[in-house]
Amino acid sequence: MIKIERENESFTTLDGQKLYGIQDLIIWLYNCSDYDFKYHNDRKDFYNWIYYSLNERDLAEKIININNKIDLIKILDDFMKSLEIYNKKKISDEEAEVEFIKYI
């Protein structure tokens, strides 16, 4: 999962921010201080949250030995980019109308 399913699974950072998913983590990493990063990284907080709360075990294993903020951002970013793949689906106008009704 790229984000939590329950609000109480959010990650609270040292500077008081609440993170709800991997994209939140990426944005926080871009802005956090080196001290805050090191605090959480040394305690394996990122690993534990991604492994146990988000159930992204492969991703968690990739970051376990990372000690550099930029490298961590790159790994997480690449992971999120893989979700941006667009699968072009041909649908007829009739199918589109059926899909649309579901929204109403």
């Binding site: 790229i2 984000k3 939590i4 609000e7 959010s10 921010q17 609440k18 993170l19 709800y20 998913g21 994209q23 939140d24 990426i26 944005i27 871009y30 802005n31 999120m80 979700l83 941006e84 793949i85 667009y86 072009k88 689906k89 649908i91 106008d93 589109a96 109308e97 899909e99 649309f100 929204y103």
Partner: protein, 221 residues
């Protein structure tokens, strides 16, 4: 860079243009684009999402990932919005606001924007309310976009009203009307659509380049 699409009249095409510009910049220029849709639960962007849980009260919390752009749907600006925008600027190349027609919201967002697309339709009411709004905006940042243009009002007349040239006049176009039924912005299902010529013109202010050239430009360079 922060771009906003504003109008005091609803239904002029702000969301259509903001969605398609965001997708265009991602598809053809590979920019990191964040679209902030302030239409809340009435957002057209909900068509592209598989889940509708929203967490957090900051602009940078729980951004949705779509293949076309990253997306944040809000129904009001949080008090922390200026700090949040600073957070986001470090991550995203382009932040596009699709602004609900609320005067306070428009003024707040226009103040932090680098480019303001003031979207109007060629009717007197749209012209009237947006001319009033224009008085409160930083005019250097504003670009007038006439959407659904059908020649019922002369562009010169519109330019006179605003004392500013119309930047782009977008005629009625089938793709701009029906793209929602394709469940993707136009750039992602029809790269040859004529509608993209106009989106390209909007993107020129961001990129400084034109990909889609008109026929005279193609012939004469």
């Amino acid at each position: 860079m922060i771009i906003s699409f504003i109008s005091l009249k609803g239904g002029v095409g702000k969301t259509t243009l903001s969605i398609n510009l965001g997708a265009y910049l991602k598809k053809f220029y590979n920019y990191k684009v964040l679209l902030i849709d302030t239409n809340g639960k009435y957002s057209q962007n909900l068509f592209y999402l598989k889940e509708n849980n929203f967490y957090g009260n900051r602009l940078w919390n729980d951004i949705k990932i779509t293949p076309f752009y990253h997306l944040k749907i809000i129904d009001r600006l949080p008090e922390t919005y200026i700090n949040d925008i600073n957070y986001l600027k470090r991550v995203y190349d382009i932040i596009i606001f699709d602004v609900f027609p609320n005067p306070e919201l428009i003024i707040d967002i226009s103040r932090i924007s680098d480019i303001i697309f003031l979207v109007i339709n060629p009717d007197f009411y749209s012209l009237y309310v947006n001319r009033k709004l224009y008085n409160y905006l930083e005019k250097d940042k504003v670009k007038i976009v006439v959407n659904k243009y059908d020649k019922s009002l002369d562009l010169d007349f519109i330019s006179e009203v605003f004392e500013k040239d119309v930047y782009c006049a977008i005629p009625m176009n089938k793709d701009l009307s029906i793209f929602q039924y394709k469940y993707a912005p136009i750039s992602f299902y029809n790269e040859k659509s004529k509608a993209l010529n106009y989106i390209d013109q909007l993107s020129y202010l961001v990129t400084g380049k034109r990909i889609k050239k008109g026929i005279f430009s193609k012939i004469f360079g």
